[in-house]
């Protein structure tokens, strides 16, 4: 089912026109009301009158996470605080959080976009959604909650954590859709099996997972463990939260709600737009946001776009899976390394479980990268030679993909910390 047929199946020309009109409106609004953008545009010698169509977006300034911090909390807002109806905040891993206020209309669009996403993943109003994202400042919980309510589906506001209880709810209340982070979905699948249950003991049919990158192999493990079809939902609090895009039944990219969020893919070095299919940094411009509209916000997420028509009937542009973050990228002995590359390798090796920890260190002047891998107990043998063969096999595969030598350490199952939110996969001990 398509939630908003007129917009989600709009012709490319109509969409271009709609985006152009909305961009003009947003640019003149922020130019008048936000000192930061007026100053930035004046530095670039651009005025609102220079924006005629959406293609003129390349004339506009960028916004970064640092700009949000520098203008913390409400310096980039274009409405007074009296018009805020909710304020979310993104997790501040370094220093202060980032405040993201929403007006009444912003929240209305949030619910609309999440309802589109749930339909995109195959959900209907007949479904019951267990929302196992954290409720609170994080947009995941309340975002999915409001979207599922807008759709008319049932909601179990489980929030994150208390895994045993989550599994009890799943067995007893029989939700048909699970929404959480992929690493928590993986943990729920493992825990279900540990308690002696399987997919037949629960009624889930769809998973809507997002907020961190995950690989195709991890998807198939989760699908098997929970008996579901897993979908990617994408979003970030600075732009809105989950529902910026979601994968459809074709499982070939995530449809972006591009009537509200205009996507660009930029070359991370030149900051110039890339063509369809080329991987670069995803950048969004708000087209309708009231409280805190951002121009060309650099997400640091790396992916590509595809404007070709989708067999599901939607015409909205698709983005690929997030293959990493430009700031997650580790530079080890001069080589770019993404944790997702290591994860993909581990998921191809049956002897290893997809739980891993990357420890980067420096010995003298040489960077070292150690990958701790939990051994799957089915493959444990009493013979050291066999165990070392498994270790060497994992090492060779990772070395081949990364093109640098890694140290592989086999560790006992369940010794690497499980996350109930975003998984922590990298410890960088280098002091630079």
């Amino acid at each position: 089912m398509i939630w908003n047929v007129p917009v989600e199946t709009m012709s490319r020309d109509e969409m271009h026109h709609l985006q152009s009109e909305r961009l003009k409106d947003t640019v003149s609004r922020v130019y008048q009301r936000v000192d930061f953008y007026r100053r930035k545009m004046q530095e670039l010698g651009v005025e609102p009158g220079d924006i005629h169509t959406i293609d003129d977006i390349v004339k506009l300034p960028f916004t970064t996470k640092k700009d949000l911090r520098d203008n913390y909390p409400f310096g980039l807002c274009s409405v007074p605080q009296s018009e805020f109806v909710r304020i979310h905040a993104s997790s501040g891993t370094t220093g202060k959080p980032t405040a993201v206020p929403h007006s009444r209309k912003d929240l209305d669009l949030f619910a609309e976009c999440v309802a589109r996403s749930i339909c995109c993943a195959g959900g209907t109003q007949e479904d019951t959604v267990q929302v196992s994202y954290g409720y609170g400042l994080f947009t995941g919980g309340l975002g999915l909650h409001d979207g599922a309510s807008r759709l008319g589906a049932g909601v179990i506001p489980a929030s994150s954590g208390n895994t045993r209880n989550q599994l009890t709810l799943m067995r007893d209340f029989r939700p048909t859709i699970l929404a959480c982070t992929p690493s928590y979905a993986m943990y729920l699948a493992e825990s279900l099996a540990d308690e002696g249950y399987g997919p037949d003991d629960i009624a889930l049919r769809i998973g809507i997972f997002g907020a961190e990158p995950w690989s195709a192999e991890m998807r198939s493990k989760i699908e098997k463990g929970l008996g579901i079809t897993a979908h990617d939902i994408y979003g970030l609090s600075e732009i809105m939260g989950p529902g910026v895009s979601c994968s459809c039944q074709m499982q070939n990219g995530l449809h972006i709600a591009e009537d509200h969020f205009y996507p660009e893919i930029l070359n991370p070095d030149t900051l110039e737009q890339e063509a369809d299919g080329v991987v670069g940094e995803l950048t969004f411009t708000h087209l309708t946001k009231e409280a805190m509209p951002l121009l060309r916000y650099r997400t640091r997420d790396l992916t590509s776009l595809d404007h070709s028509p989708c067999q599901c009937g939607r015409t909205n542009v698709r983005m690929g899976r997030i293959i990493g973050r430009s700031d997650d990228m580790l530079i080890i002995r001069g080589v770019n390394v993404f944790p997702s590359q290591i994860e993909s390798v581990l998921l191809e090796v049956p002897e290893a479980s997809p739980n891993y920890l990357i420890v980067v260190d420096r010995q003298g002047v040489l960077d070292t990268i150690e990958v701790q891998v939990e051994i799957d107990d089915k493959y444990f043998t009493d013979e050291l030679v066999e165990m070392e063969n498994i270790r060497k096999k994992i090492k060779q595969k990772i070395d081949n993909v990364l093109r640098i030598g890694v140290i592989v350490r086999l560790v006992e199952p369940k010794t690497i910390e499980r996350s109930q939110g975003k998984a922590k996969r990298v410890i960088d001990k280098r002091s630079i």
Partner: protein
């Protein structure tokens, strides 16, 4: 004769072996032989215990990787050349030895031996009077 050995995967860190013996002690399992093969990161502990199935269950419940493995348990006389004689027999039958451990006392030495073909090894050793 063919016997059951308890094999356990543990990290090579202080206190890890203690967790294993604590769990076995709590389950009232008696250990009669033990051997550890270690790498810098992890080790494989091999034990002969009085109830291997109970031991595996107790360790799994404690979140440890453990399994039961078939090994040979052969009593060799405590005299010069008896291990040599046993190995001549195994080599002659094309059987590979992965590891073995044991200790002599009161004139005989029960040896635990892990080989490439346990049943065939038991048969050929039996043929030369080793059981």
């Amino acid at each position: 004769m063919i016997a059951k050995q308890l094999s356990v995967f543990i990290q090579n860190e202080p206190g890890r072996l203690l967790e294993i013996t604590e769990a076995l002690s709590a389950a009232n399992v008696n250990i009669s032989a033990m051997n550890i093969a270690e790498t810098a990161d992890y080790g494989i502990v091999r034990m002969i215990v009085d109830d291997t199935e109970k031991a595996v269950k107790a360790l799994k419940a404690a979140g440890v990787i453990a399994r039961s493995t078939d090994v040979l348990r052969i009593i060799v006389p405590d005299v010069p050349g008896s291990i040599n004689k046993m190995l001549i027999t195994l080599a002659g039958a094309g059987i590979n030895v992965s590891y073995m451990y044991g200790y002599s006392n009161n004139g005989e030495a029960p040896m635990v031996i892990r080989v490439s073909d346990t049943e065939k090894a038991a048969e050929v050793l039996s043929g030369v009077g080793l059981h």
